[in-house]
Symmetry: C2
Subunit: 391 residues, 2 copies
């Protein structure tokens, strides 16, 4: 990559991370009174819902600990991570079954649990970074415990596996994908012993059941045996999600110097860029149908922030790994479209929800799903790749 | 109403019902092989998902029996209603607890049950009309039984009442509203004994907990004691739904000659027209926030077909009952906007899902939620009001 372009990009990602994203959430998202983080914020950072998403408690905690461990050991960041972990410890576990809640009140009273268990994986990476930051065994134990609960629940609970009855058993990409990312994080933070096994198993699952070379597609949801289900749910593709999975594999391929993993990651990216990039308006569409039929989800053609974040990362990493100009071009398009539509010049951070044509659908800066995760992770990873890993 | 306008409208509604809507579904939606109805149809009527929604099995059955009982006793319509009821009888009940499924395969194997019980109320009105059409006690008994299960489940099941834990118990408008409409139907079809009691109780519930004169608003979801919950779910209004409730009350007021009910219905319509009508692009918005804050649901500003159908009915009925020109004007706007954006000139019926600006979001003609219900009910009710009840 041309050094001028590289330096420009480093500046956009680094300054975006430190001066905009992190600063927005540090100013507006920390609940100094009740602990934990408030992520349901209006455009200017005003709290518009005091409920706390447990995913976001884990993700915020992870982010601050990650920044402390990798960017610089700022005491503020460490204290914010401890602040988050304390709330997780005190309020986010259901003592009756050890599972984590999905949503709690500002004070930490339980509101909702979900049939799946993703709160656990975000808590795991948060505890893992804190173990690394502090050396405390408590955090290390919690990291291992929440990771085990995450995989156990997803593997053993019939309920977690599918919202359907036994008539149509399905498997989703979410579990193996998040297992890869979580195990990658825990390998790096606490040296999780079986991390490589989990990553291998998850990659094998994705390759066996979700990749369809004959139609050049990554299927989000398939039958338990990998067959394509010719129903709305089975045909619905989530290109941004598959592209996120692509860079998890590319990164693993880089760390292991495994050309075959890099090839698979590029394949996933190629297929889903072609299916998900909106040639009319730009940006990655939320859902598309594998056969081009109408999708059932109402927001199928909207532009959410996170698929754009993940596409920026995947295209950048593919280019850095292969040198292929095609990926540099895609990265330029994805980076350019996202940066010209999502950032809020007035109050900072990014909007989350645009219409297909790029116009604003909602002024929300956060809710139970949008918090400081995809955007700052993109800014941090892209910066470190450009400045360190692929310098 | 000016007789020319009245005759124009009668023609639009009657011809729309008989020559377009009913004909579309009779041609494309009847599963001659496995029984029941297929409602997941593409623009041209092609089946794109063979799964069957149980709501739609009940609604289709109701529609054909209703047409047979009220429009003309066509044998085809009676046979289609019996065809639907047979599928309901054979495949839509879970023998383990007597509750109805939400979704079954084309052959009738169960796929999904929901925590709430709305399949039951649509089955009840279907069985009721068939009891009236055939005089068979089986249908009458089924109508009473499914209605009782509908109210019992919604009143007694903690799970049905709320997706939340006991920390924040909520109540929604859906249950009392649908109870009114279901009891109105069953009173007329099978002379359901306690229909008036259920209607009175439901209206009292809506008045006590959901109507907020101080802020001129119908709240969709409130705390169990009626307090406004200052969270996303509590602030989110569903104007089209509240307006649907408004005409249920207006109609009851008409049948009982109860001025107070008509006043309440008009009030609900007035409040929610002002909050839900999109002054920028026209049409009723899907969700709005009671304080004008961002809504969490992604499709908040889309235009769905059914809120427009219900608004056409409510404004028309309010005008016919009160003579108020304001309602004639609102009816003209709602009728005009809907009829210039939703009908598919090429393949018939209405599209279901438009963007805020009226552009097409999805070409779907039906799915598990959209079938022949809101549109033909609007066409039938508006036609009969103009030609018979308020001639």
């Amino acid at each position: 990559m041309d050094p001028t372009r590289r330096n420009e990009l480093i500046k956009v990602y680094r300054d975006g991370l430190l001066n905009d994203t992190v600063s927005f959430w540090t100013r507006h998202g920390v609940d100094r009174e009740h602990g934990g983080f408030l992520t349901s914020l209006n455009r200017d950072g005003t709290v518009i819902d005091t409920d706390k998403g447990v995913w976001q408690q884990g993700r915020c905690t992870w982010l601050f600990a990650e920044l402390h461990n990798n960017v610089e050991p700022r005491e503020e960041w460490l204290q914010l991570a401890i602040h988050g972990a304390t709330f997780l410890d005190q309020h986010c576990f259901d003592p009756s079954d050890g599972r984590m809640w999905f949503q709690v009140t500002q004070e930490g009273q339980p509101i909702r649990k979900r049939r799946y268990a993703f709160s656990e994986c975000f808590a795991a990476i948060a505890y893992g970074e804190l173990a690394l930051a502090t050396g405390e065994t408590h955090y290390r134990e919690r990291a291992i415990q929440t990771f085990e609960r995450f995989v156990d629940h997803n593997l053993s609970s019939e309920e977690a596996a599918s919202k359907f009855t036994g008539t149509r058993r399905t498997r989703g990409m979410g579990f193996p994908m998040i297992t890869i990312a979580t195990a990658q994080e825990l390998r790096q933070s606490i040296g999780l012993e079986d991390a490589n096994d989990w990553i291998d198993r998850s990659i094998a699952t994705i390759r066996e059941f979700h990749l369809k070379p004959d139609i050049e597609c990554v299927m989000e949801t398939v039958a338990i045996d990998g067959q394509i289900l010719d129903h709305f749910d089975g045909r619905t593709l989530n290109p941004g999600h598959a592209i996120e999975g692509a860079w998890f594999l590319l990164w693993e391929g880089h760390l292991r110097k495994d050309a075959s993993l890099i090839q698979t990651g590029c394949q996933m990216l190629d297929w889903m860029w072609h299916r998900g990039w909106d040639r009319k308006h730009g940006g990655i569409l939320y859902f598309v149908d594998v056969h081009g039929l109408p999708v059932q989800e109402y927001w199928h053609d909207m532009k959410f922030w996170w698929p754009q974040n993940e596409t920026i990362l995947a295209t950048l990493l593919a280019h850095l790994l292969t040198g292929d100009d095609k990926y540099a071009d895609w990265h330029r398009q994805a980076h350019q479209w996202a940066h010209s539509h999502f950032p809020d010049a007035l109050h900072g951070e990014w909007f989350g929800y645009l219409h297909r044509d790029g116009s604003l659908s909602s002024e929300l800066k956060g809710n139970l799903w949008k918090g400081p995760f995809h955007l700052p992770r993109m800014q941090y990873m892209a910066w470190r790749w450009l400045e360190k890993d692929f310098a």
